[in-house]
């Protein structure tokens, strides 16, 4: 959209994946998701790279956002919007988009444009992700 804003809300899949399930399955499925996107977008592995890296650093991000004890609680991102969850989402989306755009441009001298696009797209993806979370949130009554 407008040449600058490209939201990629598929990042949510990697983030919403259950916390305590098999990590290798997450890695493999993120890779598959990324490579599928690459096929459709004609973009040779950049989505795959970004998704795999995000899936790998996901535990560290959780630790950063929720503190050390996250493994013992059943953290659900889709549960409620709290400051911790917003930090996690923003940080994860930023890292993912930065890797994505960096590999798309692949030149150090264009780093300013990369950062600019990353920032704009991060905000946009974040907004759309919040909307999606609200939409798919299971309604407890």
């Amino acid at each position: 959209m407008f040449g600058y804003l490209n939201p990629y809300p598929y990042v949510l899949f990697i983030l919403l994946y259950p916390v305590n399930s098999n990590k290798s399955v997450l890695l493999l499925s993120s890779f598959t998701l990324g490579i599928l996107l690459d096929m459709f977008a004609n973009s040779d592995g950049i989505h795959a790279t970004a998704s795999v890296i995000l899936a790998y650093i996901r535990p560290s991000l959780f630790k950063f956002a929720f503190g050390l004890s996250y493994e013992y609680q059943t953290v659900k991102i889709a549960d409620k919007i709290s400051p911790e969850r917003i930090t996690l989402l923003l940080l994860a989306i930023f890292i993912h988009h930065f890797i994505l755009f960096f590999f798309e441009f692949f030149r150090i001298d264009l780093i300013v444009i990369v950062l600019f696009r990353t920032l704009l797209s991060t905000l946009f993806t974040f907004t759309i992700s919040l909307l999606i979370i609200y939409l798919i949130k299971p309604n407890k009554r």
């Binding site: 959209m1 040449g3 600058y4 490209n6 990590k23 290798s24 890695l27 493999l28 890779f31 990324g34 490579i35 690459d38 096929m39 459709f40 977008a41 004609n42 973009s43 040779d44 592995g45 950049i46 795959a48 790279t49 795999v52 890296i53 790998y56 590999f103 798309e104 441009f105 692949f106």
Partner: protein, 276 residues
């Protein structure tokens, strides 16, 4: 041996990560060091079929506009047909008399991208329709791009909105040659570089494909001069060209095959080769 297996089991998660990272990184780097996207592209049966279905749905919604475009193209063709004495038909402005050098295949766009630095278009005709790599692609308004890769029923086009693309072009009035490239910033404009300072330019002059290209016929419209810059280091002009084509909405395209391309290339290679 036992230890190696233990090591692999213990670090399986990390090893899996490195493996997947390696695969995707090598794909990425390969795509940047070669001219073409080699393995992962949308010229395969799966993605092609999906895009085709999506496009069928989209097409239905824009039938009215397409009708209008077809009608106006029809009108233009009729005008050419009826006004044979018109200046429009002099050899300089329309396709040259050697039009029978060129085969034309009609195809429909099923996927178009324009918001990246390397943009590709996927069309629904492939090697079965006689399409091969490096053929030119135009539509009724002007130039679109080059065929990059083909499968049986689909092909990808390297759009002119691709930072890798470089096409020979000239200024219509003065016949000065340059190269048409894209700086990756605005989808409405491309850049014509390496135009010598001798050329006399004015804002609004037409840019068309040049005769140096062995892919496109001469005089296919590209765009109009919008702004002119002078490169102080090299004494060449850099020209901002406003494209005639709206690259964000491409419907039917025509793939052009130059039948005498091989002959011309061979002759040029033989001429350039050192004599023994």
């Amino acid at each position: 041996m036992q230890q190696i297996i233990n090591f692999i089991i213990k670090n399986s998660y990390r090893l899996l990560f490195l493996l997947l990272l390696g695969i995707s990184l090598s794909l990425t780097i390969k795509s940047h060091s070669y001219h073409r996207s080699e393995y992962v592209n949308s010229a395969n049966a799966v993605t092609g079929t999906v895009y085709k279905k999506m496009n069928e749905a989209n097409e239905y919604l824009s039938l009215k506009e397409k009708n209008k475009e077809l009608a106006s193209e029809n009108a233009l063709l009729k005008e050419l047909l009826f006004n044979k004495k018109d200046t429009l038909l002099t050899s300089k402005t329309v396709f040259r008399n050697d039009l029978n050098n060129f085969n034309v295949v009609v195809a429909k766009t099923v996927k178009n991208s324009f918001n990246k630095r390397e943009n590709y278009i996927t069309i629904n005709a492939g090697s079965l329709a006689g399409i091969k790599t490096d053929m030119g692609v135009v539509n009724d308004k002007g130039i679109v791009g080059l065929i990059e890769k083909t499968s049986a029923n689909f092909s990808t086009i390297q759009s002119i909105l691709n930072t890798k693309s470089k096409i020979n072009a000239k200024i219509k009035n003065s016949d000065h040659f340059g190269s048409l490239v894209w700086d990756g910033k605005n989808v409405g404009f491309a850049q014509l570089i390496d135009v010598p300072r001798l050329a006399s330019l004015r804002k609004g002059d037409s840019i068309v494909t040049g005769g140096n290209s062995d892919i496109f016929p001469e005089n296919i419209p590209i765009g109009k001069i919008d702004k002119i810059f002078i490169d102080k280091k090299t004494n060449y002009y850099t020209i901002n060209v406003r494209l005639f084509n709206d690259m964000t909405s491409i419907g039917y395209v025509y793939v052009i095959e130059n039948k005498k391309r091989k002959e011309k290339q061979q002759l040029e290679v033989e001429t350039a080769a050192p004599k023994k």
